[in-house]
Subunit: 303 residues, 2 copies
């Protein structure tokens, strides 16, 4: 039996939030359904944030209401208790919060210190227990911060342990600007896996410096089996200079299946979802494997 690796498609949130063109609720639902049809079981569907600050995420409540929670893990980003209340009222069962490897990034992103952002997350973790809600904690700039430089691994270790101890369903180690190298990924993730096991750890990489897939491979070697990815490579961080798109779900799925992992994903349907992302946004770059992968699959060839 091939070993399972899980991809969480963050395209409908992380991917779309920063697009010049704002998709309608119907278009966003169409993209989510295309991802579901391709076999994605974890999808970040939207964000319960101020529509003034992030207009692309307006209507996330309508999206959450329209989906059948339980048939897949549909998560939504929340910044605080108000977001939590709105998300859970709309039916969301899994919320994602962000903690920070540097004060500089926390300040730029949410106008808080790293400790304040962590306190907000720990507060929601406490609340969520009695509500039966899952909380995913993402550690932003876990490797390098564009403002503060390299992140001390001890900071990441501490954040991960405190979030897991407080009941986080998963802690996502994020290379927010795509500046990590694979040796650094192996070193940090091996330490985190040693302390916490691999089950509740995930990685989130950007392909800014061509190292997205190398970093996924390095994390795999450290035992990580959960990864964020974004359909069509949609993404980028508005507050992180130089950050380009997330790793493309099609690139990650192709590599994983090529190595022999089971991702539960139908690559042909995933390429259709990527085509849809490109068509809807007009700016999704498409996975770099796409020009090659499509014709190859058309011929019925094994990867």
């Amino acid at each position: 039996m091939p070993e399972r690796v899980y991809l969480n498609d963050v395209g409908p949130r992380d991917g779309l939030q920063n697009q010049p063109k704002h998709l309608s609720v119907e278009e966003r639902l169409e993209l989510i359904e295309a991802l579901r049809a391709a076999g994605l079981e974890q999808i970040e569907i939207g964000a319960f944030v101020s529509p003034k600050a992030v207009p692309a995420m307006a209507g996330s409540d309508q999206i959450a209401h329209a989906l059948k929670h339980g048939e897949a893990s549909y998560s939504a980003l929340i910044p605080n208790r108000r977001g939590y209340d709105l998300a859970t009222a709309a039916g969301v069962k899994t919320v994602a919060m962000v903690v920070y490897g540097s004060d500089a990034m926390a300040e730029k992103n949410v106008g808080m210190s790293s400790a304040e952002a962590e306190a907000a997350t720990l507060d929601m973790l406490l609340q969520s227990k009695s509500d039966g809600i899952e909380v995913i904690a993402t550690i932003a700039v876990a490797f390098v911060c564009p403002f503060a430089g390299p992140t001390d691994p001890a900071i990441v270790h501490g954040l991960a342990q405190r979030c897991l101890a407080a009941g986080a369903a998963r802690v996502v180690i994020a290379d927010t600007i795509g500046a990590a190298n694979p040796a650094q990924v192996t070193a940090l993730m091996e330490g985190l896996v040693e302390d916490n096991g691999a089950d509740k750890l995930a990685c989130h990489f950007h392909d800014t410096r061509a190292l997205g897939m190398a970093n996924v491979y390095a994390a795999l070697q450290a035992g990580i089996r959960h990864f964020d990815a974004s359909i069509g490579g949609l993404g980028g961080c508005p507050f992180a200079p130089g950050a380009s798109g997330n790793i493309a779900t099609e690139d990650a799925a192709m590599m994983l299946q090529s190595i022999g992992y089971d991702t539960g994903i139908d690559l042909n349907k995933l390429l259709a979802a990527s085509d849809l992302a490109e068509r809807l946004t007009g700016t999704a770059p498409g996975g770099r494997s796409k020009p090659w992968l499509g014709p190859y699959l058309d011929k019925g060839q094994v990867i």
Copy 2:
């Protein structure tokens, strides 16, 4: 002391041979000089092939004559004894020949069987000994052939051992179409290193499926310290459907230096060489790390 990793820039040959625009001898020399200025000590400068078949490589003799052999390892591709005679007459001290992991690719590329191409290479290896000429043997389609499917590792093992036994200065294991995955790279290269040591082995990857840097990282882990790369990501194989450019020298150098290896390369000057490749060809994509790397280095930040 950081460990040394060696990059062989194949841009002036592998990169340029298939460009729609043919550069002048002067332009090709300008590119080679820019690579030397950036610290590259191994450069594939041209090919001694029929100018009718590969017009972009016409004048390689003038290029070889203009260079000071010995200050760097300037190699040239040759297909046969005639190419060998022309190259060595022009001053070339290192020739590169291609052997094939499949008959189908050998047939498409040079109209020979794999055994015939190997015999031609072994013949030149014999000749080169008395002439004091180095021969590099590249094993094309060492992982997957677009016509014959996956390549049996035993074929690659056999080719590598016979070429090394015959005195090859280096055997380059080439993923000609960019279809290898990192687990496959680790497996094949670990076996080859076990049998032959790492010193005379190199890898040649394409970035067709976004796995170029992942495959370099996988080969590094198997002990490989020599890699082909192409400035600005120039390249592609005219006979291999779906093959996009070689890995970009700037991406490889950036990753290696970021991990902590010594490449002997000045990244700022390498970016200048990449800019030159883009300007001269009009089609070089530029390394994917370029948009990020340039501004970062400008600020004097460590990678």
